[in-house]
């Protein structure tokens, strides 16, 4: 039923939305194109790269691997939820800036959402935990060094000499 219509009700970044979506519509396309939340990106279409990572009911998920109808009744958070559009960055975003943890910025929203979920699940992840926690997010610019440092800094586990 790819072209069948389904009503959904989904809470995105604290705001409740009701729409009728096609059965085949991906959650990432719903977020980007129906809600206009274009911070969530698409990099591989196959669940490998994590550019589309959002947090759904508290867990990091890949929004290109879910249909919009699957988000019915759920709470979704995207990168746009991390700080006010005109306000200062949150602590994790500020740490990414301080450590030069982004270059082209395409992977960044997904990376931030995976890191946000990781920091919620683990109190003080060390380097190995951060690397494992970000395994599902590909970055082609940074070689991950500064991303790992930024997340560790936000978690308070960055060794002093690399701060």
């Amino acid at each position: 039923m790819p072209d069948s219509a389904h009503p959904i009700s989904v809470t995105v970044n604290g705001e409740r939305h009701e729409h009728v979506v096609l059965g085949r519509q991906l959650l990432v396309h719903y977020l980007r194109e129906v809600l206009g939340l274009k911070g969530t990106h698409i990099g591989c279409d196959s669940g490998n790269c994590g550019a589309c990572t959002v947090i759904c009911d508290g867990k990091a998920i890949k929004s290109c691997m879910q249909l919009a109808v699957q988000a019915d009744g759920r709470e979704v958070e995207t990168v746009e939820s991390l700080s006010e559009p005109l306000g200062p960055p949150n602590a994790l975003q500020a740490s990414f800036n301080r450590h030069h943890a982004l270059q082209c910025g395409y992977c960044t929203p997904g990376m931030l959402m995976s890191a946000t979920a990781l920091l919620t699940e683990q109190e003080a992840p060390g380097e190995d935990e951060v690397r494992r926690g970000l395994k599902g997010n590909i970055c082609r610019c940074t070689g991950y060094v500064n991303i790992v440092r930024a997340v560790q800094d936000a978690a308070g586990t960055l060794p002093e000499q690399s701060a």
């Binding site: 982004l102 690397r131 997010n137």
Partner: protein, 826 residues
């Protein structure tokens, strides 16, 4: 009022320089909040979505294409076939001379499909999903043709031809011959022969695929290409004649680009097809490539096979040079090629004092995806061979690889160093960099660990490898004449516009097309220092737009040149604005320039603070109060300057294939420590150091970030990223499930250091950098070779996944040349 036009007045420094500091990036604000605008974020009213139909075969005749079922669907706006493209456009200009230049290349397959994934038809429809469904209804009848996949084989007689009109698969052939290598081979104490080395095909796969919205406005004639193409004027060079439009009506724009690495340079074929669809349907045409399309249908890095390598070596370890045959596999179309056939020669002797060099180079077409200039383009393949040569000389003749390199490296006191083919290496200190890299990993500790692992029989072996490489930057486009003497190119340049706006605000527009290289930040640093303000006060307009008029023919971000060309342009433009500021201030304040000081956006008479003008007040005089200025001053200033930086080049000599081909030579020396598991072939990186040299760094943190990124690409290519075809010419790595992009757990915590040797040739002493020169490919192969010491096994491929390493460790080593290397000694 005085009325002198001040030129290049340099006031004393009144605030700490911003250049040289790790200023936080200006780009980050929007990118961290998901507020960037990437190509797929652009939507236009009434636009349609495009889906391409692609050839399932490596080589096939297109018998018939029937689009009627697709067109019958409600909401399908238009279709386009290769045959229509042939009728509507001229074939693309070819860079190659005859014979390769006679290849016929359009934006889609005409009559024949020449690689799996080549677009044969396209559909424009009201939604992405409908376009895809409709494309599935396009019926194409194919008749399969014989194909050829290996460049060495394709270059022989009697093979299937990729382009019959060319008459050969060798699109270009040239011999680079400097010194007297045959004399050196006769005179040498040892000759090391390496029958074959293979540099594999891979891609740095930017995370953002190609994407564009193209709108052909038939009213104005403007074709607006809003895309992530990374070198728009290069694209225009091909598109404008093909489409029959003026270059100034091809408007290119982009804001944020999600990585490119050279692979978004040749997307003009797709942009052409979108333009045709837009004109046909009277609507904007939007296309966002799927990853599977990107892997099979955009472009790959160059694959290169080296054969018959011979290396003359003296008893004391002096390497006299080398001789080699190179077969560069460029895939089905030449497009950016055969530029690779000259670009490698920017670094012909690598980091070494080699005097006798001969490379017999062929650009060969095959039935595979066309190549594009992937990060480190054409130099990394060659430099990898050079480093394999040095390592194999060391291991075969019993030299220490560190001492052998130091024996042969160009020495610090020899810079500027002219290579046998006339290239001038500006500065460097390879010996100190190697020492520093060895120190960063604590090499003696690993040598001890290596010995104890071998003694214990632990089933694990440790190897320490070195990768010495060059990142040549700011190309002399005159080198194109070496592959085609009729190309009217030489020199290089870049444009920038600096403007003081109505209320004294400073903005800069760049001709470069950044893809993550922090141009907004580093440009602001340089301009801020010229104007005596903070980088925060400089607005560098994000992205690029040809409507800003800040471009020249070779504008763009590629070939490690921004720190020279882009910065040189911004610097010059800002200096012209500063001259205007002082001209107005001197006139209004009735002072001489020597009496004026510039502090925090205010020009005042030194020692008389009341006689002062802010930037805003000066702007007001120029824009809104001209009557109050002497006419000769009002006529002399604009506060809006376009400056073109011109790199100091002359035309290289196409006959001898020599000349100054690049302005700067950034260098990198990497040391890699690996552990190999004998039982599984698993290779683990235990330690890694990257020492780079790029002249005076503008922003050290940005430089380090580029080093990290290039290092990760190299490690990835060395161990896990490869693009391979089966015997039918089907790509085996068509998604990220099969193309194993490195993730966070795969990469080591690179240790880095930077040893600046300022370039004597550039505006700020900086060198272009960022491509990195593929050092990890050299270093990982070198470390594997070191881990195999004593076994006789030879690392002959740039790609060494677990299975290949297992075979090197566990399979019996062949005798003679079949082993991969042999030595003839006097």
């Amino acid at each position: 009022m005085s009325a002198t036009r001040i030129t290049t007045w340099r006031p004393p420094q009144t605030r700490p320089a911003s250049v040289g500091r790790s200023v936080p990036r200006k780009e980050d604000g929007r990118l961290l909040k998901g507020q960037g605008t990437f190509a797929d974020d652009v939507w236009m009213h009434r636009m349609g979505h495009v889906h391409f139909v692609r050839s399932p075969y490596a080589h096939a005749r297109i018998v018939e294409i029937d689009v009627s079922k697709a067109l019958a669907l409600d909401g399908v706006y238009a279709t386009l076939t290769g045959e229509e493209a042939r009728q509507l456009t001229d074939r693309y200009t070819q860079i190659a001379p005859e014979p390769g230049g006679s290849a016929k290349d359009w934006c889609m397959a005409v009559e024949e499909a020449r690689y799996q994934g080549e677009p044969v038809a396209a559909v424009l429809a009201e939604s992405r999903e409908l376009a895809r469904d409709a494309a599935a209804l396009v019926e194409v009848a194919y008749e399969r043709l014989p194909h050829v996949l290996d460049a060495v084989q394709a270059a022989q007689e009697g093979q299937p031809l990729v382009h019959t009109e060319v008459g050969s698969n060798v699109g270009w052939h040239g011999v680079y011959d400097f010194g007297d290598v045959d004399w050196a081979l006769e005179r040498a104490d040892h000759v090391v022969r390496i029958p074959r080395l293979h540099f594999h095909r891979f891609s740095s796969t930017p995370l953002e695929c190609n994407a564009a919205v193209v709108n052909w406005d038939v009213g104005t004639g403007e074709v607006h290409v809003d895309s992530n193409n990374q070198m728009p004027q290069f694209a225009a060079l091909f598109m404008a004649p093909a489409l029959g439009v003026r270059t100034d009506q091809l408007r290119f724009s982009s804001q944020d680009i999600g990585g490119a690495f050279g692979l978004k340079l040749t997307s003009y074929t797709y942009l052409t097809a979108l333009a045709l669809l837009s004109r046909k349907a009277g609507r904007p045409a939007k296309w966002t490539e799927y990853r599977a399309e990107h892997l099979v249908g955009s472009c790959h890095g160059n694959e290169r096979t080296f054969e018959e390598i011979e290396v003359p070596v003296m008893a004391d370890g002096e390497i006299l040079g080398f001789k080699a045959k190179a077969y560069d596999d460029v895939g089905a179309f030449m497009r950016y090629e055969p530029l690779g056939g000259v670009i490698f020669s920017q670094v012909l002797p690598g980091c070494y004092r080699f005097k006798h060099l001969q490379v017999d180079y062929r650009s060969v077409v095959t039935n595979k995806t066309p190549v594009g200039p992937n990060r480190g383009y054409s130099r990394l393949q060659h430099l990898w061979m050079v480093e394999r040569i040095v390592d194999l000389v060391a291991s075969e003749l019993g030299f220490d690889p560190v001492e052998l390199r130091k024996r042969n490296y160009i020495r610090r006191e020899e810079f500027p160093y002219t290579t046998p083919n006339g290239c001038v290496y500006d500065s460097g200190d390879y010996h100190a960099m190697l020492d520093r890299a060895l120190e960063l990993v604590d090499a003696p500790r690993w040598r001890a660990a290596q010995a104890s692992a071998a003694a214990e029989g632990s089933g694990k072996r440790i190897g320490i490898g070195i990768g010495s490489t060059l990142d040549s930057g700011t190309s002399n486009f005159g080198q194109a004449r070496i592959i085609n003497k009729n190309l009217p190119f030489s020199g290089n340049g870049e444009a920038a516009i600096c403007r003081l706006d109505l209320q004294g605000e400073v903005s800069v527009a760049l001709g470069t097309v950044p893809q993550g290289q922090s141009h907004e930040t580093t440009t602001a640093q340089v301009v801020a220092d010229v104007l005596g303000i903070s980088p925060d006060e400089v607005l560098v307009r994000p992205g690029a737009d040809s409507a800003r008029n800040a471009y020249v023919a070779f504008s763009g971000t590629y070939a490690s040149q921004f720190a020279v060309t882009g910065i040189g342009a911004a610097l010059g433009a800002a200096q012209r604005v500063r001259d205007d500021l002082f001209t107005v201030a001197a006139a209004v304040l009735e002072a001489t320039p020597e009496e004026l000081v510039l502090i925090d956006g205010t020009i005042s008479v030194d020692g008389d603070e009341d006689r002062a003008l802010t930037f805003a007040e000066i702007a007001n005089y120029v824009y809104a109060n001209q009557g109050a200025l002497p006419p000769e001053v009002a006529d002399a200033v604009t506060l809006n300057h376009r400056h073109v930086y011109r790199a100091p080049f002359t035309v290289p000599d196409w006959k001898s294939k020599s000349g100054s081909l690049t302005l700067t030579y950034a260098s990198q020396i990497h040391v890699c420590v690996v552990e190999v598991d004998d039982e599984t072939g698993q290779t683990t990186i235990l330690d890694y150091a990257a020492v780079d040299e790029c002249g005076t760094p503008i922003n050290p943190q940005v430089v380090e970030g580029q080093v990290h990124g290039a290092a990760a690409h190299g490690v990835a290519a060395a161990l896990q990223e490869t693009l391979e075809y089966d015997e039918d010419g089907q790509l085996l790595n068509g998604t990220f499930w099969d193309y194993h992009v490195v993730s966070a757990p795969d990469t080591p915590m690179f240790k880095t250091d930077n040893l600046p040797c300022p370039s004597p040739f550039t505006p700020t002493g900086s060198k272009g950098m960022g491509e990195g020169g593929g050092a990890p490919l050299h270093a990982v192969c070198s470390a594997l070779q070191d881990a195999l010491r004593g076994s006789g096994a030879v690392v002959t491929d740039s790609h060494n996944p677990t299975e290949r390493v297992w075979r090197l460790v566990n399979e019996p080593v062949a005798d003679g040349a079949a082993r991969g290397v042999e030595v003839r000694s006097r």
